[in-house]
């Protein structure tokens, strides 16, 4: 269920508060200044909502503001700013600089606020400031370092914003290589969502059944009570190797956080189930884990303490599992015996377990 919408905090007040609304507003302000500096003030929707002047065109720049000028109001030198070695910038300075931007909207005042926000205690605000600094004072090492920090260590929006900024200055940076799914909408963070998501198995990332609009996705999404099936689904490489599954497990962990999902249900087919199990070992918490035709390998058992319930759905003598040499019976350790229920119906066909007709024939919706 979606959480409450954020409420913008206008002007200097955004810099005197530390709650979620204030942090989001600070990020929105600096990103707006960056867009205006780049000559795209029209990209800023409702600047007045965060206390900025309605017309941001005067903030447009032909050349970057010299860093020395931008940091002068902060009481530090350009070298100190580059190395973050100078005295701390009081949080009150950011509020005062915001007032100056409102009173006298010009590129230097805007650049000063952006530089001040690089000292924020909040990673989202620092990362947003780094994106804008690319346009106000221009790219430099400490700004890129902040983008990398946001892209690699940030969560939710900070990660997405960091990646977007990094893609502008260093599109081949390794931190961008793990982007395997479309980026999260900016409003997805902090979304308390009890929902379900789906993933595919080996050699199957280009199949459609698990994607929004696909037959199994649509089937699950239409069940009563509703599962609130998440859009998008989780895609991984689908390669057939231990390393590929371990990488995918880390990507799944990151992806669930980036999507704002809290203890979701997961429907995972084949070695997508292995990916899910490995992800629980990395710290992913799941409510219901529905394993569809999972090839049983004891070394890839889940961390049972992180899963509420496991529903194991499979056919007898699955031919793909035969090829994989996986086990066809999921027998959990005694300590987790009560968590796993197996439903074995039909024969041979590995893909049947994501077929809506198979689910209807065997009444599987009722076992969820």
């Amino acid at each position: 269920m979606p959480g409450p919408d954020p409420t913008p905090v206008a002007g200097a007040e955004a810099y005197t508060r530390r709650d979620r609304d204030a942090r989001l507003s600070q990020a929105a302000i600096v990103l707006s200044l960056g867009a205006a500096a780049a000559g795209q003030p029209e990209r800023v929707d409702r600047p007045d909502a965060v206390g900025l002047p309605a017309d941001l065109a005067p903030l447009g720049q032909r050349e970057p503001v010299p860093l020395e000028e931008a940091v002068a109001p902060l009481g530090i030198t350009a070298d100190e700013q580059r190395s973050r070695s100078g005295p701390a910038v009081p949080s009150g300075t950011r509020g005062a600089l915001m007032d100056q931007v409102v009173a006298d909207p010009n590129p230097t005042n805007a650049a000063a606020l952006v530089e001040a926000c690089l000292h924020s205690g909040d990673r989202l605000v620092r990362t947003a400031a780094a994106v804008s600094a690319l346009d106000t004072t221009g790219p430099r090492d400490d700004v890129v370092a902040q983008l990398v920090d946001g892209a690699t260590r940030g969560r939710d929006m900070a990660k997405d914003i960091g990646r977007l900024g990094l893609a502008r200055v260093d599109p081949d940076h390794p931190a961008l290589r793990r982007v395997v799914v479309r980026t999260t909408p900016p409003d997805a963070s902090d979304r308390p969502s009890h929902t379900a998501f789906i993933t595919h198995g080996t050699f199957a990332p280009r199949t459609t059944w698990w994607r929004p609009g696909g037959d199994f996705y649509t089937y699950l999404d239409g069940l009563t009570p509703p599962l609130h099936v998440h859009d998008p689904s989780f895609q991984w490489s689908g390669l057939y190797s231990d390393g590929a599954r371990r990488l995918a497990a880390q990507q799944m962990l990151d992806w669930v956080a980036s999507q704002g999902l809290q203890r979701p249900d997961l429907f995972a087919h084949s070695h997508g189930g292995t990916v899910a199990n490995l992800a629980t070992g990395l710290g992913l918490d799941l409510d219901r884990l529905v394993l569809l035709s999972w090839p049983v390998h004891e070394e890839w058992f889940p961390d049972f303490t992180r899963v509420g319930r496991i529903i194991d759905i499979r056919v007898n003598l699955d031919l793909v599992i035969l090829a994989d040499r996986g086990g066809q019976t999921f027998t959990p350790p005694a300590s987790a015996a009560g968590k796993v229920t197996s439903h074995v119906n039909g024969w041979f066909a590995h893909s049947d377990t994501h077929d809506p007709d198979y689910w209807d024939r065997h009444g599987l919706a009722a076992v969820l």
Binding site: F203, T207, Y240
Partner: protein, 114 residues
């Protein structure tokens, strides 16, 4: 899913791994590029488990199939120096395999932690 087709590929896969008979290999590549989801999985697993034995066959298939992506996936799953070499060659070529091969090499770099 064609259960008969999947069962046939299961047997062919065993033949390929044990004997390396070329017709068996070609049948697996056929299942990989033309089969349904389960047939592709069985063919892909068999080709992957055979390792470097499958690489020349897959390298040839990269340029001979309209959609080389399943072939790229198997080469990346094999992941040996010979398989990576085939992917690098494909990535440099002017062919539909170039982009998927380059992406697969990046995935392998990620798996290796590079």
């Amino acid at each position: 899913m064609s259960t008969a087709g999947a069962a046939r590929l299961l047997a062919v896969g065993a033949t390929w791994r044990l004997t390396g008979a070329a017709p068996a290999g070609r049948a697996l590549v056929g299942g990989l590029v033309e089969g349904d989801e389960a047939e592709r999985a069985i063919a892909g697993i068999a080709l992957t488990k055979a390792g470097d034995r499958s690489v020349p066959l897959l390298a040839a298939a990269l340029t001979a199939t309209a959609d080389p992506r399943p072939v790229v996936d198997v080469l990346a799953s094999i992941g040996t120096p010979a398989a990576r070499s085939a992917l690098r060659s494909a990535a440099k070529a002017d062919s539909p395999a170039a982009d998927p091969a380059a992406q697969a090499l990046r995935t392998l770099d990620d798996i290796d932690g590079r």
